[in-house]
Symmetry: C3
Subunit: 262 residues, 3 copies
């Protein structure tokens, strides 16, 4: 059963405590690092090409998050992806704001085409843009219906032989054929910056111990469970954010795993 | 009445949920983004010139915050301001630490002279420095009396046809002629980094729906009300910061609006 | 007695409220700034060489933290250290992740050899790497026994005429001859990013009023006391982090000072 696979994967990740190399945006670095620590992984952040060979020799996986692109960071991302491919280090792409600017859309597509991420994790708008849908996103938020994105996700997953993870009220994870749904979370998650980025980083942590479909759905189960638990303790965004990280740390793996259905 | 204008402006901003483009310092990005989300706006942060045309086509306003300048960010700020002027996107300048270094003072003055910000939001020391007063600031904090800054603010507002918003125990907003005072807040605000920067970002959100004087004073009303409410729930800086963002989210618009007087 | 020296130093620091210039990593900027404010110091962060002369004319001390190196930041660090030496501004080096990559190890050693930091503050692995021990660190965490690092710390302190501060379950501070031990804290500290960096920044604040040995041990006393107090109020990482900053603010100086033994 999928629930058992996910439960085992989360347990394995915690036992391994994988080092996750993050090339991510400046806004979410602190919450991303703290979330990885809370779930039992180990974060490192570097954008300097000169240390990628060393870092990707000890890291178990890589995050590429385009939330605050610069010409220097784009070059660094290409360099890191190349090395990750060479060293068989799996990586996750988070195409933050794809569709909002040509630079974000094009950078995402370049990375997908050239380096084949194991997982692409975005919101519905971003995934639809990458799949060639002509939907304009409004900044980094998604207003599109998550279900509308399923076909786009399947298309993208098949075209690039990857797994697509679409966050929303119900999260959708697909490899192009199989589709997994994860429910839980809280509306307060979208009122905290970096929640999507956090799910991307946890996906990377899970890639250290499992295949892309299990990794992506496990991460969404962890997010959905912690979000649901935190929403019982807090009714406003900042106290919710504190509870959310606390709940990542206290995670009931069995309850988290049961948030998936096929 | 001014209170009614402010109440309407805050209501309008929440209805519009404007996208605010932030070019801000690295220290405060997370709290700025979370504060904008909590008040009902939508944040995006990018420093890459290549995407300014696209981003400022969908953004309602722009923040220029000089808290961590680099030669690259200065160039980016000029580029963004130019495009904002061309596209009639209003912007707010936060001259963080003006007076502490020549680079900060000069960069602030260059931006004011060349691009005419709709609002300049700083503390008393920063405003006095920009108005040509020879007062040395101690880093990014203000030790000068806010009231002493009123004349400097009026002078600056008239000279550059802008609105000046001066944060302090009592906040002062002026267009050079009219002067608005906002009271509230908490001494714990100055023990959290980014509170001034947050008021700047909220000012930008308000500029999406109202004129500069109303935008600047509405933002200070929101800050003052959330600060006063949070100070009832927390007696130390970090728990205060959590409560503050929560109170931004729960804002009582009527109470906030009543914090202003002419 | 050492306890009295530390108590006096902390009191002096709070009276002076020193401006600390931080060149630190992007992940921890917010918590570092808030921790400095909570203990009564004043933070400023800049990486732009052009303003170092001005900033180091008003700053009391400098932090060099290599957590997210870039070619630009390395150049900036050399420039700042040179100016700090010239102006007799004391500085602390935090060799984050030394041993994880050659770039981090080499940058740390270059800074130590060329500019003679007053204090080097790291975890056991980092200190052993810098002392020439061939121990591979796993990213930015330490798995090595802190006691094993004492000899490395003494060696490093003597070789470079500096003070070495090693954080761990028991913190160790040495000038090569004298050894001070600080106990307290909480295991939840290692589940929050930036706790080591925070102790480095507080060490810099203390350097504004005391000699390196007292400064380094005072900072660890402050951390240990706040950590111990916070662990009574929180049992998970994020609520712990909030309590930790609150406890820095509410610090009982006498209790903090009593956490040291010779």
């Amino acid at each position: 059963m999928i629930q058992e696979e996910i439960s085992k994967a989360i347990t394995d990740m915690k036992a391994k405590s994988p080092l996750v190399h993050n090339i991510t945006n400046y806004v979410v670095m602190q919450i991303t690092a703290n979330a990885l620590l809370a779930v039992g992984a180990s974060p490192v952040m570097t954008f300097e090409k000169e240390e990628f060979e060393d870092m990707l020799s000890i890291a178990s996986s890589l995050v590429i998050n385009i939330g605050t692109l610069t010409s220097i960071s784009i070059e660094a991302m290409h360099s890191a992806c190349k090395i990750a491919n060479k060293k068989n280090v799996p990586f996750v792409l988070d195409p933050v704001g794809a569709g909002a600017t040509k630079l974000r859309t094009q950078t995402s597509i370049d990375i997908i085409k050239n380096y084949n991420p194991q997982v692409i994790r975005g919101n519905a708008s971003e995934i639809m843009v990458l799949a060639g849908e002509s939907i304009k996103t409004k900044g980094v938020d998604s207003t599109a219906n998550v279900n509308m994105a399923l076909e786009a996700g399947k298309h993208l997953a098949k075209e690039y032989n990857t797994v697509v993870s679409i966050s929303g009220e119900t999260d959708i994870v697909t490899d192009g054929n199989r589709v997994l749904y994860v429910s839980g979370g809280s509306p307060l998650m979208s009122l905290n910056t970096g929640m999507g980025c956090t799910s991307t980083a946890i996906t990377a942590a899970m890639l250290a111990v499992s295949n892309p479909l299990i990794a992506a759905s496990s991460a969404m189960c962890i997010m959905a469970e912690a979000g649901a638990m935190a929403s019982k303790k807090a009714d406003a965004p900042a106290s919710f954010a504190v509870s959310f990280i606390d709940e990542l740390y206290k995670l009931n793996i069995s309850n988290a795993s049961n948030r998936v259905r096929e």
